[in-house]
Amino acid sequence: MKDQEVELFDMEVRLLIEAVYLRYHYDFRNYAVSSLRRRMRHAMMRFGCERPSDLQHRLLHEPDVFAQALQYFTVQVSEMFRDPGYFLALRQQVLPVLGTYPSIKLWVAGCSTGEEVWSLAILLAEEGLLERSLIYATDINPESLKLAEAGAFALDRIAGFSRNYVAAGGKRSLSDYYTGAYQGVVFDRGLKKRIVFADHSLATDSVFSEVNLVSCRNVLIYFNRGLQDRAVGLFRDALVPRGFLGLGSKESLQFGMHAHDFELCVPAQRLYRKVVA
C-alpha cells in the first residue's frame, strides 16, 4: 500500500540505521519508524543532505558528524518535575514504602540531560532518604550524560521548574538547591553524591543491578513494540519483588508482552508494581 517515494525513503533509512549499528554499535533498528522518519528528516536538514543515503555516507566516514547526528537521532526534551502529579505520587505513595528498606536503589533509564534525576534526588533529600539511596542515571547519549552530571540549567527554564516543584509537593523553595552561575544555575553537589551516571542502552545492554524503583519516562515511546518488550523485560528482571516502575503519562504496559508481570498502583500517574510470580 506504501507509496513508492515513502518506500524508497524507508529503505534508505533502514540501510543508514544498519550502517550506524555496524560502524558505531548504536542500535536504532527497533525504534518506532514514525518518529525515526522525523528524526532522519531533521538530521538530513541539519547536515544539508538530500537523501538518507547521503547522510549515511557522511556518517560512515566522519565520526564527528555521527556524534552531532546522535543529538538528532534521539529526542532530549526534558523538564524538572515534569508532570508534577507523578512526583507527588512518588513522594506520597512510593517513597514511604521504599523508606522501610535499609538501603534503596533507583534507576532512571533514559535520563537525558538530568532534569528527572535531579528532581528525584531533591525528593529523596526532602523525605530524608537520600543518604540511604543510590540512583543510577543512564542514557545512550554521551553529550546528555555530561550535561546531566553537570547539573547546570539555563536561567529561563527555572521559573517553570519552580512551578512544577511546588505542584509536586516541594517542601522548600527550589532556589535552596541551586546557586546562580554564569547564565544559569548549578544544582547543589551534595545532591549528586548518591547519583551514578552511566552509559547504558536499553536496546543492547543487560541488567546491571537489583533496584527498588525504575523510572523510565518518555523513552519507550521511541521504541517499537518488540524493543519495548525487551526494555520492560530488563526492568522486570532488575526490580526486586514488589518493586516500582514509573512510566511517562501517555505510556502503558497494556499493549506489551509483560503486562501481567506488573500491576498498576497509581493508575493516573502510570506507576506500576512488579507482581510476585
Binding site: D3, R37, V77, L220, K250
Partner: protein, 192 residues
C-alpha cells in the same frame, strides 16, 4: 473521482487538524458520524498548554463513536482518537499509533503536520485529511505530504472558517481535492 469518496470503503483512516475555532468545528463534524462508522478518525487540535485535556470528554458527549485520548502504541481501531497535550501524535503502522515529545512544530505540540505526514507514509492513497479553521501555518506541510502520497485532502473554505489563515495557507501551499464549508463537510460526514 475524489469528489465522490466512499468514506467507508475507500479510506483506511481519516486525519483531522484544527486550531483557533477548531473546537466548535470539530464538535459539529464529529456529531455527524454514525455509531457504526468503521474507519479510525485521528485528531490534532491546538490547545493552550495549561488547559488540561478534557477535550476528548467534551466532544465525546456529542459523538456516537468512542472518543479517546491517545496512548503510545495504542491499536488503531474504530472511534475517534485525540492527540494528548504536549505530545505529537503519529501513525506508526496500519494497526497502531505512536507518540513523540520532540520539539514543537510552529510553536505547537501536538502539531498537525507530524500526524498528517506520518499517516500519509502509512496509508498513502487510502487516507482522507481534513484541515479546519486556524490561525497557524501548521498543516500546510502535512497537506502537501498527503497529496504527494496520493491521498485526499478536504480543506475548510477559508471565508467560512472562524480563522481563515490556516486553511488559506495550506491551500496556497499545496491545494486540495475539495474546498468545503463546514456545513458541506458535515453533510459528507453524515452521509458516511
Amino acid at each position: 473521482m475524489n469528489g465522490h469518496l466512499d468514506l467507508r470503503h475507500d479510506v483506511d483512516a481519516i486525519v483531522i487538524g484544527g486550531s483557533a475555532g477548531g473546537v466548535q468545528a470539530l464538535h459539529a463534524l464529529l456529531a455527524q458520524l454514525p455509531a457504526d462508522f468503521p474507519v479510525p478518525v485521528l485528531v490534532v487540535l491546538h490547545l493552550p498548554r495549561d488547559r488540561p485535556s478534557q477535550i476528548a470528554d467534551l466532544l465525546a458527549t456529542h459523538c456516537a463513536l468512542p472518543v479517546r485520548e491517545a496512548i503510545d502504541k495504542m491499536p488503531l481501531e474504530q472511534g475517534v482518537v485525540f492527540a494528548p497535550p504536549d505530545y505529537h501524535l503519529l501513525v506508526e503502522d496500519e494497526s497502531s499509533l505512536a507518540l513523540s515529545m520532540d520539539e514543537p512544530v510552529l510553536f505547537s505540540r501536538p502539531a498537525i503536520d507530524p500526524l498528517f505526514v506520518s499517516a500519509a507514509a502509512v496509508f498513502s492513497r487510502r487516507l482522507l485529511a481534513i484541515l479546519l479553521t486556524g490561525a497557524s501555518a501548521d498543516g500546510s506541510e502535512g497537506v502537501a505530504a498527503v497529496r504527494r502520497a496520493g491521498g485526499t485532502v478536504w480543506i475548510q473554505q477559508p471565508d467560512d472558517a472562524v480563522a481563515s489563515f490556516m486553511p488559506a495557507a495550506a491551500l496556497a501551499h499545496a491545494g486540495a481535492e475539495a474546498v468545503l464549508t463546514l456545513k458541506d463537510l458535515c453533510e459528507r460526514m453524515a452521509a458516511a
